[in-house]
Subunit: 149 residues, 4 copies
Amino acid sequence: MQSDNAFRLYNEVIEPPLSDDELAAVNAADLDLAQRLGLVLTYCSQDRLEGHLEVTDKLLQPTGIVNGGVYCTIGETLASIAAVAATAKPAVGMSNSTDLLGSVKAGQRIDAVAEPVHTGKRTHLWRVNMSADGKLVAVTNLKLMILDR
Amino acid sequence: MQSDNAFRLYNEVIEPPLSDDELAAVNAADLDLAQRLGLVLTYCSQDRLEGHLEVTDKLLQPTGIVNGGVYCTIGETLASIAAVAATAKPAVGMSNSTDLLGSVKAGQRIDAVAEPVHTGKRTHLWRVNMSADGKLVAVTNLKLMILDR
Amino acid sequence: MQSDNAFRLYNEVIEPPLSDDELAAVNAADLDLAQRLGLVLTYCSQDRLEGHLEVTDKLLQPTGIVNGGVYCTIGETLASIAAVAATAKPAVGMSNSTDLLGSVKAGQRIDAVAEPVHTGKRTHLWRVNMSADGKLVAVTNLKLMILDR
Amino acid sequence: MQSDNAFRLYNEVIEPPLSDDELAAVNAADLDLAQRLGLVLTYCSQDRLEGHLEVTDKLLQPTGIVNGGVYCTIGETLASIAAVAATAKPAVGMSNSTDLLGSVKAGQRIDAVAEPVHTGKRTHLWRVNMSADGKLVAVTNLKLMILDR
């Protein structure tokens, strides 16, 4: 994410939201596990992130539904980017609490939205709601420590 | 995991522990996300599971350390297999609570051990401790619902 | 809560909401720890509960702010009543995950609202947001098992 | 806890463990909610705390078992004292994650032990196991922020 287009994400509070070109640059950067699993960022501002992921066979567990770790990973990644977008400072996940509420199969799409619950000086709590076909399937609450630059 | 060698894992309580041949069959089955990320199961009995994962670049997040979702996924997978090994019944993760305690880089190995905290009739709680170079780096507490066959 | 006025709470889905007389009967029943700590129920329907608690000295910890267990207890109680109000069935808390986001002192009031995140056949997830002077100070996510009557 | 006997608890790392006189002074101080609910501290060193609580009617919820908030409160208090005993610095609970694994009735005793999972410079994670009649009934994982004095 050192590319010119993505420059803003790690260097300033994201207001106004990232443009389509900036989003494309972040998505093309291939620097994060969640991207490699298929997560595409579609909106990024200082107080809201959105993304989605098309479920492929490789994300499943043996019974044919999405491995719960996928939701945790989407939540971890979106909330971490969100904390960076809100502060322009490095952020470290401290605890990832993900409730698994439904099952998703290959071919479905997981839509994810990250919103802040609490943004303090030293810690943030972001919530990431994930749904498929309009039904809530998982929620991540990620607590982060905000570091000095 | 329908191969002959792996037959026991989804069909009976795993006592005695899986043999080396049975472990090899499970590891070769390529049926789970965590396996695809590199998780290798090295011990499986009804009350303890062990595995490890060699960290490659693809598991990192942009600052060069392992994405927290990797620990969640290892915990989710090991605890889920553990519940199946303990009951011979299907098990569904309900909540994955993962504390992120240290950072790990490419080239290091994550060693994981799953042990039961509570094994009731309808719900289980398994804890998965993950360490690298002998230092605890993450802990997953996975609550599961045990289903009827 | 076996009094005549409170009859509906454990015997039917709470639609329409409890009347003022019914709320008064529940609050007078003195059957729950949270009530004894000061929690007053002010609204109860099948999909939303509200209550508040005036903070007294006995709820503090040694540094003079509310002991975090108070928020957990408010969350546990409101979410449990909520699940009963939504199902007319017994509900058992399985995991209480409470994020502590601010501090509250004696003389302040904690306002709490419980709303459903997920209401399945066998498990519910309720969220209880707690605030003081309009500032969010704690959030409980309570996972419950719904039992057969 | 400003009494002479309790002096060490907030002023130095607790090594050696508190003496019986020091424990008695802490228990007599009446400065914390958990004490008022009945928690008695029986052992306190820098890496382990023990306490117990005799269950009285006032701690129950309407169905006659201990309100889950009691376990959260015991966990919150023991883990907070533990972090102070280990660091001699103020500690603030950030998230209280309590798994509820069994039910306890009036007349039973809850025995609680706090042990460290992770003790970093800025954050600690303490685990509090609670049992009754030798059976594990609840586990609190409390994440704390360690403050500068």
